[in-house]
């Protein structure tokens, strides 16, 4: 079965006065139908740029440089997302592809009632007013919200409720793919857990595919099927949640997993140093400045994302055959 979304060689950056600073560098990623794929990484690693690039919501100075994204829907229709004109893209959005933005606490228009904000999209996508209202109520119920909230303004709702409204809005058209960027940031732990459960429930109910983007390994551990670890604009490692948490391959993944506080109070040291900013990504492997296992080759050559068996992928010279054989 082909992947729902197939990303190939996706690069995006920031347009400067003379040159483009690359933030996301030739990312290859397949999002499988029905899965929850978590993309994790530190702040500034390019994961949000990746999410907005997938939604094609990049605004200047953010620019898309190269690559392709193919969306294959169940009905057999295939869309090259990067080649679609804006009008077709608008049709696609929300119907098949929806988005829960970063900072979604502020993603509701403060001057419109919730009802208007949920239904205006549905109506523009061809539903009647009654149908749109019905769908909105159904969507609200899906996230355990009372329909009467439709009469409220955003500022009358708590942060968790606003977040749920956003989720409800995002699922109201039963889209194939939902991209959720930093869904739970700024929420308390209890609300976080509820939301994640609801999101998982939605996936089960709608059969939707969810791409969840977060800096929080805990979120990934709770909800994701597979995890893509991003570092400095590139995918460092890709695998199932179990594999990555049990036996991370990439030294960066190892560091991330080690940094999670665990029950029992025992805490492994975090990664030394700071992630490089897009303006000074190091040559060779971008992680070599912080890597405890750095070898000469890391400073010179960029490692490719290579399959490591069992559906696992890693971009690290340590796992390249000739290095392994030398060891």
């Amino acid at each position: 079965m082909p992947a729902l979304l197939e990303i190939r060689g996706l690069s995006a950056g920031l347009q400067g006065r003379r040159s483009i600073t690359q933030v996301v560098s030739s990312v290859d990623l397949d999002v499988q139908r029905g899965e929850i794929l978590g993309v994790v990484g530190e702040s500034g690693c390019g994961k949000s740029t990746l999410a907005t690039a997938i939604m094609r919501l990049l605004v200047p100075p953010q620019v898309l440089q190269s690559g392709s994204m193919t969306l294959r829907l169940k009905d057999g229709n295939t869309y090259e997302l990067l080649e679609l004109p804006e009008t077709d893209l608008r049709q696609l959005r929300w119907r098949h592809l929806s988005y829960i933005p970063q900072g979604s606490m502020n993603s509701l228009n403060p001057v419109l009632r919730i009802e208007r904000q949920m239904t205006d999209t549905l109506i523009q996508h061809g539903l009647s007013r009654e149908e749109a209202l019905k769908r909105s109520i159904a969507a609200l119920e899906m996230v355990n919200l009372e329909p009467r909230l439709l009469d409220s303004y955003p500022h009358e709702l708590s942060g968790g409720m606003r977040q749920r409204v956003i989720i409800a809005a995002a699922v109201s058209m039963r889209p194939a793919l939902i991209v959720a960027d930093e869904l739970t940031t700024a929420l308390d732990v209890v609300t976080q857990r509820q939301l994640l459960q609801e999101l998982a429930g939605i996936r089960d109910e709608l059969g939707a595919t969810i791409l969840i983007i977060t800096h929080d390994m805990g979120v990934v551990a709770q909800i994701a099927d597979r995890v893509a670890v991003m570092y400095a604009g590139k995918i460092a490692e890709l695998g199932t949640v179990n594999d990555i948490f049990e036996s991370p391959l990439h030294p960066y993944s190892q560091g991330l997993i080690g940094a999670i506080p665990r029950a029992g109070g025992h805490r492994v040291e975090g990664l030394p140093g700071e992630a490089p900013s897009p303006w000074n990504y190091p040559a060779g492997c971008r992680f070599h400045t912080r890597c405890p296992h750095v070898i000469d080759r890391c400073r010179a050559q960029t490692p490719a994302l290579l399959p490591q068996g069992d559906g696992r992928w890693a971009a690290c010279h340590l796992y390249e055959p000739e290095v392994l054989s030398n060891a």
Binding site: R93, S104, S107, V111, L112, T121, N144, R148, Y153
Partner: protein, 359 residues
């Protein structure tokens, strides 16, 4: 547990609406109280400040007379004139009594603000009411038009901020905004009025006409109004354009704009319901402030275009230290500005639901 907490949240939202209505009413009452107090305070300050300005109207009166008669007058004659007019203008009483009399007459006497020097023996009240339509007609209308045009244009060039055309529009607006209104008006008068002779460039209407409901008078009135209104609109409109553009750009960076685009809404809906409506709120406040500021700063246009408005009246009154007229103009200006601010403050909750609760 989850369902429970959300149900109660819904209840509180409904209760909140009822409470909100109550609060809006309390807000309106409180706001009106503040309005009355400010009005009184401003009038009081104006009353005393004007009387602290050096210069006695009687001396100006006599200065004019001496020159008119072309000779030295005898002292007794001067005393008689001074005594008479001091009495008419109520200037012999001690200041606190003058103040009380002023308020008493103004409030109980049906806005009796005393006689004026500028157009003696006309009553100050009549003078202000006769001049007021010009100020309101020309300036308030042009500020409103400038606001509408500037807001629309600013929203558009903010929305299309990266296109070359809107960058050009920003440059032009900035240039116009920093140009003194005097230069704009004079430029229009010289070029449009005299060199190209497209429109009349002075006076409220043709000099031989009298106000009446004839097409000749009305068309004359309208053509004479174009240039002064345009002068005002160009400068103020440029300011509104730049202001709205900045507001628009800051709104465009908001999360709800990204979300609106992600929802697949048409650009027009995003512009209208999401960007424009939010940027509009501070722009409405700006309108109230600008109207207040221009009302007092319009006399340059009134003088250049020879319009019989309140601005020229105030300048004339100041030159004669005609306290009654100065006060009446200030009174009217304060009244107009405060009323406008009140209207805007009371109207803002309609535009911005957040204010209904927080006020």
């Amino acid at each position: 547990m989850t369902a429970n907490s959300d149900a109660s949240a819904g209840d509180s939202a409904a209760e909140g609406q009822a409470a909100g209505r109550r609060e809006v009413f309390q807000y309106a009452v409180r706001r009106f109280g503040v309005y009355l107090f400010t009005l009184w305070a401003a009038i009081t300050v104006a009353f005393f400040v004007f009387r602290l300005v050096p210069g006695d109207p009687m001396n100006i009166l006599l200065g004019n007379l001496t020159r008119a008669e072309g000779r030295q007058r005898d002292a007794a004659a001067e005393e008689a004139i001074i005594a008479h007019y001091r009495e008419i203008f109520g200037m012999d009483d001690p200041l606190p009594l003058q103040y009380i009399n002023y308020l008493r007459k103004a409030i109980l006497g049906g806005l009796d603000l005393g006689p004026s020097f500028v157009e003696y023996p006309a009553q100050t009240k009549d003078l202000v009411f006769r001049r007021m339509p010009w100020t309101i007609g020309i300036f308030t209308t042009s500020v409103l038009l400038a606001w509408i045009v500037g807001t629309g244009l600013g929203a558009l060039i903010g929305w299309l901020q990266r296109s070359r055309l809107s960058q050009l529009a920003v440059v032009i607006s900035t240039l116009l905004q920093i140009t003194p209104v005097y230069l704009v008006a004079l430029g229009l008068i010289i070029y449009v009025g005299y060199i190209w002779r497209i429109l009349p460039a002075g006076g409220p209407y043709a000099r031989h006409l009298q106000p009446e409901w004839t097409w000749e008078f009305i068309s004359s009135l309208l053509t004479h109004a174009i240039l002064p209104m345009l002068s005002n609109m160009i400068v103020i409109g440029a300011g509104f354009t730049l202001g709205m553009r900045a507001l628009m750009i800051s709104v465009l960076g908001e999360d709800y704009l990204t979300f609106a685009r992600a929802k697949g809404l048409s650009p027009f809906t995003v512009l209208k319901d999401y960007a424009f409506r939010n940027a509009l709120i501070p722009q409405v406040t700006a309108l109230a402030i600008i109207v207040g500021a221009t009302l007092n700063g319009t006399f340059i246009i009134e003088i250049l275009f020879q319009l019989p408005g309140l601005g020229t009246l105030f300048v004339q009154a100041m030159g004669l230290r005609d306290f009654n007229t100065m006060q009446a103009v200030v009174l009217f200006s304060i009244f107009a500005v405060l009323t406008l601010t009140l209207i805007v403050d009371l109207a803002l909750p309609l535009l911005d639901p957040r204010i209904r609760r927080t006020a």
